[in-house]
Amino acid sequence: MNVDHLVTMANEIAAFFDAEADKQKAAEQVANHLNRFWEPRMRAAIKAHVAAGGAGLAPLARRAVELARS
């Protein structure tokens, strides 16, 4: 999977949920979205990207990726 595209997608999802004042809740909502709509190889690729430093990921997106299922 093209990780740059995944980073863009994760950041866009995070941008929507970022309106939530409780940032922990926002991160859980983003993670829930990733769990429910991202195919496992997409989640694996973005998790590997975070493990490698997570360049380009917004803080909320990065936190959500960490919370998401493998």
Binding site: M1, I13, F16, A19, R36, M42
Partner: protein
């Protein structure tokens, strides 16, 4: 000429609830107050002779044939324009009436001799009927030369106007006015020189006529008749459902043997109310076009020529390839695509094949690229992934807000109903970057046209909501009773923030703040305000956010849960709603239940006899990404043309070229078939049984009119492929598939073919609580319980204009063509639209030296294409617009891969472009063709 089996009651049904009893020819008759004497008599079994009257149009009272006598009244009033009154005693037959009627018919016959042999209307002509009823065979009066010598107008490709057969009853122009709402026809001249003309006597094709055919159907003679009627006689008819847009018109296919002679809208059709458009009524010739492929074909490489094979070999080869690829690259290296043009039963089978036979959730549907944000947005806010109303609900609306849709182009039959309501006085607000027809059309003018910049929908809806919240326009009682209080408070505070005010958003949206405020006040005042929206809402990077914003606005103003209000997505294709309902998305089973839900999965596992995956599969764009990294290698595509319809053609082509086995099931060798290894010839909507579900959740029967050209209906092809894969799939008829759908899907629990036949159609949910369906959703409470407000922060799209790409391109449809044009390009609809063109504002054109009809090159970050320019002020400065119906125009060569954050629905509606005048279009075309050819020789995927 009406449907051959139609019994005309003369005047429309009266909506009155009170009843009146009269006496007709000595017999008591009770009818609704307001009913005409003509209709009352017809309901009692007495058809009064008539010519200008018909039950689809308001009474006109011009032909003077339907005269009756009323006890205690002088004269002989027309029964079509006289309403029943309590105790009235009517006589429909007497020597005096017979004499009067006979003389009237003689006058008509003097202008229209009864030379019936060979006439297309012979046997179904209302003048012929009137003459028979009055005993007229000839006329004592001589014929005026003008009528006899008037030339035929055959300019319209589908019908003929023969003035010599016209009795100037005005039914055609009244149909154009009342039914269609175009007002293209008029009566020119006076007395015996009176004649029907289109526009300023321009001829039908060149006139404002939209070729809906309502005039042709309303004509009592053969003055207006469909051209095929001249070559055949109707000997049977089959009621089926149109295969074009999401209105889902019910049509009578009238046949001569197996040959379709014409399509006539079914009067009982609840979606279309007896109306149709140029596509549904006339543009069905593609079904027998010579381009139809009739034999399966395979090839080892996409550069090889096709080889025709038997069905058996095609299935064996395809199944072998899929199993080979799965054994090498894993179970999830394959997938399938369901089609929103196919039936519910067919889409259900494709997703079942992928989930059960292939063991993967890699199934998606072409709804991905149109209304997937609708499903997500409405499910989360209201609890159900569907529109809330029946189409007829619009007749109760006081304010109608149309956002990002052009119903007169995309959903013309609904548009006619909408226009009827607007002519009755409902107010209209249009939110669109382009001046769609509804903004100003005969007898209609929008109260507000919020002509926003492309990509700023969410900013506009937030600004509208800001006005509602800060000016005290919220329906507080409704919100308190029906919505989640916590989400309400958070949303109220969010939209009330100054950054969401119309004034703060004006620099972003380009819409004057005062106009936003006025529109918000009008919408909130209602009392019944309804929202209708299209792909101009969904096909954005914030498509889902906008759907949620719309739902928020409707909840805050109490405009959900009754007739006349609601949130209504206008679905693009005939079965977009159905394909989504049937579990076509990779994360959910039919009825929108997530694959991770263990009880639901257990239900399907028990029914299908195999374990099912609990993780979501790949969406279409994810499949392309996975193809390019080598982890996705085979795809079964039913009825979808990615290469033409999906954004960034270069990317799509690269992905398809990287796969080892692409299977295309379609009527024609479409653009995607260029990259396919297997071609399975599909069947048209005329060649199979099944159901479609339209934009109002209405399930309607599709009935087989003729045998499949290639021998198998699409559901049979999928079934045979599943069998070749070793999966036990055996249905004798689509009714059996629907029975399984009903067993497994709560919202379809009560649906059967027998009930569909009895009721005509059913709006889901249809279950024990609503055995005959649900016209209006969320009555009393929302499907999810309490409505949930979502915070909809405006996030600008990353696709922005700059010095290099200073214009914003947006795309849409035109009335006469349909989506990628695979069907309509193979019909005479080309008479209206032969090519895609670029609409550009005259000021933007002038600065570029572009004149009307010039060739222009369009360049974006993704690619380039070339087409002709139309200079028009319908678009604002800085915005250009085109359609995407023709592959040679390559509109999607320039659109980008930007997509909706929640669903990956492509952002077709915003592409930054530059437009330049092109003196040598052939050079551009050659270069683009070379680029396409180069992409076809794309390298093998990494890791391959």
């Amino acid at each position: 000429m009406y449907a051959t089996d139609h019994h005309d009651l003369g005047t429309p049904e009266s909506p009155g609830a009170a009843t009146v009893t009269v006496e007709i020819d000595g017999r008591p008759v009770t009818v609704a107050a307001g009913t005409s004497l003509m209709r009352a008599a017809a309901l009692a079994g007495t058809d009064i002779p008539k010519l200008c009257a018909t039950d689809t149009l308001k009474a006109f009272g011009s032909c003077r044939l339907c005269l009756v006598e009323i006890e205690g009244r002088k004269g002989t009033p027309a029964s079509c324009t006289t309403e029943v009154a309590p105790g009235m005693k009517i006589r429909t037959d007497s020597a005096q009436l017979r004499k009067l009627r006979r003389n009237v018919v003689e006058l008509y016959v003097s202008e229209h001799p009864l030379d019936c042999d060979g006439c297309p209307a012979d046997g179904h002509c209302e003048l012929q009927d009137a003459a028979a009823a009055t005993g007229v065979t000839d006329s004592r009066y001589s014929r005026a030369a003008a009528a006899a010598e008037a030339p035929c107008d055959s300019s319209n490709p589908y019908f003929v106007f023969d003035p010599s057969l016209c009795i100037v009853c005005s039914r055609c122009l009244r149909a154009c006015d009342e039914t269609q709402g175009t007002f293209a026809l008029t009566i020119d001249g006076r007395g015996l020189a009176s004649r029907v003309v289109a526009s300023q006597d321009d001829g039908f094709l060149a006139s404002e006529c939209v070729s809906c055919g309502a005039c042709v159907e309303a004509c009592p003679t053969a003055a207006l008749h469909e051209k095929p009627l001249a070559g055949g006689r109707v000997d049977r008819s089959v009621v089926t459902t149109c295969g074009y847009c999401g209105v889902g018109c019910s049509l009578n296919a009238e046949l001569d043997g197996d040959e379709v002679l014409r399509m006539v809208p079914a009067r009982a059709g609840k979606a279309n109310q007896g109306h149709a458009c140029v596509k549904g009524r006339f543009a069905w010739g593609y079904a027998t076009h010579p381009d139809r492929v009739q034999r399966p074909m395979i090839r080892a490489k996409i550069t090889d020529p096709w080889r025709e094979v038997s069905w058996e070999e095609a299935f064996r080869h395809t199944a072998g390839e899929f199993r080979r690829i799965q054994s090498t690259h894993g179970r999830d290296s394959v997938g399938g695509i369901t089609s929103s043009r196919c039936t519910n039963e067919e889409t259900f089978l494709v997703q079942k094949l992928v989930r059960a036979a292939l063991g993967s959730n890699n199934v998606d549907t072409c709804a991905r690229v149109c209304h997937s944000p609708t499903g997500y947005g409405l499910k989360h806010t209201l609890g159900e992934s569907a529109g809330t109303q029946a189409f007829t609900s619009v007749m109760q609306a006081d304010v109608i807000l149309v956002i990002g849709a052009s119903p007169t182009d995309g959903h013309p039959v609904f548009a006619s109903q909408l226009k009827r309501r607007l002519r009755q006085g409902a107010k209209l607000i249009v939110v669109d970057p382009r001046a769609i027809d509804l903004v100003r059309t005969p007898h209609i003018e929008a109260a507000h046209h919020l002509q926003l910049r492309p990509g700023t929908n969410v900013a506009v809806v937030n600004a509208l909501a800001h006005v509602v919240v800060t000016e005290g326009l919220v329906r507080e009682n409704y919100v308190a009773a029906r919505c989640e209080p916590e989400s309400w408070r958070a949303w109220r505070d969010f939209v009330a923030a100054p950054r969401n005010s119309p004034e703060a958003m004006e620099p972003v949206t380009g819409v004057p703040a005062a106009a936003i405020r006025a529109a918000a006040r009008l919408y909130a005042a209602g009392p019944n305000s309804a929202i209708y929206y299209g792909l101009g809402v969904t096909e954005h990077s914030q498509g889902t956010t906008m759907v949620m914003g719309i739902a928020n606005l409707a909840m805050a103003t109490g405009n959900l849960g009754r007739e006349g209000v609601g949130v209504n997505p206008l679905r693009g294709q005939n079965n977009v709603q159905g394909s989504c309902d049937m579990g076509s998305f990779p994360h959910e089973f039919s009825g929108y239940r997530h694959v991770s839900d263990a009880p639901t999965r257990a239900l399907f596992e028990a029914a299908w006899g195999v374990p099912l995956a609990s993780e979501p599969g790949l969406r279409i764009p994810n499949m392309f990404e996975a193809a390019l990294d080598g982890s996705f290698r085979a795809l079964y595509i039913q009825g979808e043309d990615f290469v033409q319809s999906d954004p960034n053609t270069a990317h799509v082509v690269s992905a398809l070229s990287a796969m080892e086995c692409v299977v295309v099931q379609d009527l024609f060798l479409n653009e995607t078939a260029r990259y396919a290894h297997v071609f399975l010839p599909g069947s048209s909507f005329l060649e199979k049984d099944g159901t479609f579900t339209n934009a109002e959740r209405r399930i309607s029967r599709v009935r087989k009119v003729k045998e499949p050209l290639a021998g198998l209906a699409d559901w049979e092809i999928t079934q045979r492929l599943a069998q070749a894969l070793g999966y036990d799939m055996h249905y004798a008829h689509p009714a059996d598939i629907m029975a399984e759908i009903a067993r497994l899907t709560p919202t379809f629990r009560g649906v059967t073919y027998a009930k569909l036949d009895a009721l005509g159609s059913i709006q889901w949910p249809c279950n024990d609580k609503a055995p005959e369906g649900t016209p209006t959703m969320h009555v009393g409470e929302f499907v999810r319980g309490k409505g949930k407000f979502y915070l909809t922060e405006y996030v600008p799209t990353s696709e922005r204009s700059n010095d290099r790409y200073p214009l914003l391109l947006t795309t849409g449809r035109i009335l006469s063509q349909y989506n990628v044009g695979a069907q309509t390009r193979r019909t005479a609809n080309l008479a209206w639209h032969r090519e895609d063109r670029l609409e550009i504002h005259p000021d933007d054109a002038e600065t570029r030296g572009i004149r009307d009809n010039d060739w222009v090159g369009i360049t974006s970050r993704a690619g380039e294409t070339v087409m002709r320019a139309d200079l028009t002020a319908r678009v604002t400065r800085g915005v250009v617009y085109t359609t995407f119906h023709f592959p040679e125009s390559g509109a999607n060569l320039v659109t980008t891969e930007n997509s909706d954050w929640a669903t990956n629905c492509p952002e077709y509606k915003v592409t930054a472009v530059q437009v330049v005048k092109v003196l040598q279009p052939d050079d551009w075309k050659a270069r683009i063709a070379a680029q396409r050819a180069e992409r076809r020789r794309a390298p093998a995927p990494a890791g391959g």
